[in-house]
């Protein structure tokens, strides 16, 4: 508690000391902007269950956070640094996270961005096909602000433009896996309970640099893009040292290439979007290796529309069709849950704004008719003033089985509360 008070006092002092910066510094700061926020964010499990782990308790998440954004722009380029200082109340330790730190330069029709950055592609709303950049599902499932779903990536990005067509080429030399909910904090399905795990990330070698490219443009009002990716699956495959009574599990990230396309634009009185992608499992085209995911074709169709003032409806339908399904079924270890050949998922988003858009009440719902599981995210957010907002977000999981993607988290229903002061 004392640590928390000291942390917030320190952060508050910094924020309010800023306008007192001596004159020469402020002159220097002409093109320098310094902003950020102070935030408290807690998430409590509603099921009354406590995982018997070192970090297991009623709280899934709890922290106080201070973000500082430094933005220096000049004739030749721009430097941007977004750093979060925080106190993790569950593990009870202070920490620091550099969320973004990059340099931008421009040369004629091309821009270069080098450093840690957030990358988002595709048309999906919480559903991703060609957006292969790493996600933090633990942050998302515990109701943290949505920007923390994104794991920053150390990358070099080249932007090219010629007339109405543009391209982005990204090289990511350091592999970044998806961050899955921590086993210390979340109840979840474990096919190998109690067995020691090790993670074997792709080695830091030139040949393992992930490459992603997007060519895009807007024609007849439709934003259309083609995507290419060569790298690795971001969710691990589990390899046991032996199938019967294993003693060691290795988490591996098999090679992957993705080829895809998307388009979106005004139609049917709203915005319509479609996206497709082929996940080419490079290390196991035949689908014989049960550790390596099979190749799959993925599609997404979305529609959003404003039905009345300040009320928006969003609908999506998503599917994954597994290739070589017969081989997959034949090679799947017995006793393990098997995936459907055509996994489907639909989402619904409802958003209503009140009081001159200062109060937002929303619901996001995932439902899978094939997995028969769901995930509901009700949310309410109020802007108390231009600088201060508070929100409450629920995360409700469930399903027929505890082995499906959402169904496994059923014991982790939680309510998250966030307060943020921006400056």
């Amino acid at each position: 508690m004392l640590g928390r008070v000291i942390f917030l006092s320190f952060a508050f002092f910094i924020v309010h000391a800023l306008p007192l910066t001596p004159y020469p510094l402020r002159a220097l700061a002409d093109d320098l902007s310094l902003h950020g926020f102070l935030q408290a964010n807690y998430s409590a499990r509603l099921t009354g269950l406590q995982p018997p782990t070192s970090e297991g308790g009623d709280f899934l998440f709890g922290e106080e956070r201070f973000q500082l954004r430094l933005d220096k722009s000049g004739e030749k380029g721009r430097l941007f640094i977004r750093t979060d200082f925080f106190h993790d109340a569950i593990a009870n330790r202070p920490d620091l996270e550099v969320r973004e730190a990059y340099v931008d330069t421009s040369m004629g029709g091309s821009d270069v961005r080098v450093g840690r950055q957030l990358l988002i592609w595709g048309t999906g709303d919480y559903l991703f096909i060609n957006d292969i950049f790493a996600k933090d599902w633990g942050a998302f499932f515990s109701g943290r602000p949505v920007e923390y779903l994104r794991v920053p990536q150390d990358a070099a990005k080249l932007d090219l433009s010629a007339g109405w067509i543009s391209a982005e080429i990204v090289a990511m030399p350091f592999f970044q896996a998806d961050k899955l909910p921590s086993r210390d904090r979340f109840y979840q399905f474990d096919p190998f309970p109690g067995v020691a795990r090790s993670t074997q990330q792709p080695a830091m070698e030139f040949q393992n640099t992930e490459l992603a490219a997007r060519v895009y443009g807007t024609t007849w009002g439709f934003d259309t893009a083609l995507y290419l990716y060569r790298g690795f699956f971001h969710m691990p495959g589990l390899e046991a040292d032996r199938m019967i009574a294993p003693t060691q599990i290795a988490e591996r990230f098999p090679r992957l290439a993705v080829y895809g396309a998307s388009t979106r634009g005004n139609a049917l009185g709203g915005v319509v979007s479609t996206e497709v992608g082929y996940y080419d499992s490079l290390a196991d085209h035949a689908g014989r290796d049960p550790i390596i995911p099979n190749s799959s074709f993925r599609y997404l169709a979305g529609y959003q529309r404003q039905l009345w003032e300040d009320f928006t409806l969003g609908l999506q339908y998503y599917g994954e069709i597994m290739m070589q399904y017969d081989v997959y079924r034949a090679s799947a270890p017995s006793g393990f849950p098997v995936q459907d050949q055509h996994r489907q998922l639909m989402t619904l988003r409802l958003t209503q704004l009140f009081w001159n858009q200062t109060l937002r009440v929303g619901l996001f719902a995932f439902y899978s008719p094939t997995d028969q599981d769901y995930y509901l995210i009700p949310e309410i957010r109020y802007s108390i003033s231009d600088n201060l907002w508070v929100s409450a977000t629920g995360n409700i999981f469930g399903g027929r089985r505890t082995t499906t993607f959402f169904g496994q988290f059923g014991a982790n229903d939680n309510l998250a509360v966030t307060v943020r002061y921006e400056f």
């Binding site: 722009s73 994104r150 543009s166 003032e309 001159n356 600088n387």
Partner: protein, 270 residues
């Protein structure tokens, strides 16, 4: 030249109205009203070839609580009555760096993109101009960028002096979706700018009122630099000040692209 012709037309209308005479040869009064509205839209929403202005909106509740929306507006006229808008938000803090880009088309739904800097995300926005408030203010998107002239039936009601200025009062009744059942506009006979507007609901009650509070000459173009929209029913109002307005600054097409959304052009935003 066009303005002068319209002034003459206007003068004739005024005479025709006052004298209770028959409409002009070759043009019904209805068409005259529509062309007057068109001229007003040109002066209000399409002046110059392009525009750069720092826009400061103050949202005021009846209780006196204030919220600010501080943005840079870049606007460019295109062929065929199309327009492009690039709106960069300097404040408030929780939307700083957000950009709204709009491709506005006559008689067709606009294309709208939103860039959210905390996510480095470009979204398409589904929203209907007539029915959506602009960033929580009392102005709708249409109030900000103009409504299709063809979307209403316009009638000249009378001429009227508003302070020292002579105006034509026009009644507009929507033929397409609108958030009003009737609108009255007081259009300045010299500048064609709307000096006052009143919005009535289906019960015939006044619910929203617009006033042009300050008009300045900017590069020879009369410009409303202060305006207020009041929601008469809730008492909420929005005051808008246009600062450092500049016309014909030479905005290129490259500004109004997804690439620029993700990397807003520094030199235009100060």
């Amino acid at each position: 030249m066009m303005e002068r012709v319209l002034l003459v037309v206007l003068a004739v209308i005024v005479v025709a109205q006052e004298g209770g005479q028959a409409p002009l040869r070759g043009a019904s009064p209805l068409e005259d009203a529509a062309s007057l509205v068109r001229q007003s839209q040109e002066a209000f929403h399409r002046a110059g070839t392009d525009l750069k202005a720092r826009v400061k909106m103050t949202l005021l509740t009846k209780e006196g609580q204030q919220r600010l929306r501080d943005l840079m507006m870049l606007r460019k006229n295109e062929a065929g009555g199309n327009q492009r808008y690039f709106l960069y938000f300097h404040g408030p803090a929780d939307v700083r760096g957000t950009v709204l880009m709009v491709y506005k088309y006559p008689n067709q739904e606009d294309d709208r993109w939103l860039f959210i800097p905390a996510l480095n995300l470009v979204q398409r926005v589904a929203a209907r101009d007539s029915r959506s408030s602009f960033v929580g203010s009392d102005f709708s998107y249409e109030d900000i960028s103009g409504r299709d002239v063809e979307a209403d039936t316009h009638t000249v009601l009378r001429t009227e002096a508003l302070g020292s200025r002579q105006t034509v009062v026009i009644e507009s009744v929507p033929t397409r979706e609108a958030d009003y059942a009737k609108k009255l506009s007081w259009i300045d006979q010299v500048t064609f700018l709307p000096l006052k507007e009143e919005y009535y609901d289906v019960q015939g009650a006044l619910y929203k009122a617009f006033t042009a509070d300050e008009i300045r000459d900017v590069q020879g173009l009369p410009t409303i630099t202060k305006r207020t929209m009041t929601n008469v029913k809730t008492g909420h109002k929005t005051e808008v000040v246009f600062e450092s307005v500049a016309y014909n600054v030479g905005l290129g097409d490259d500004i109004f692209t997804e690439r620029t959304l993700r990397r807003p052009p520094e030199k235009w935003l100060k």
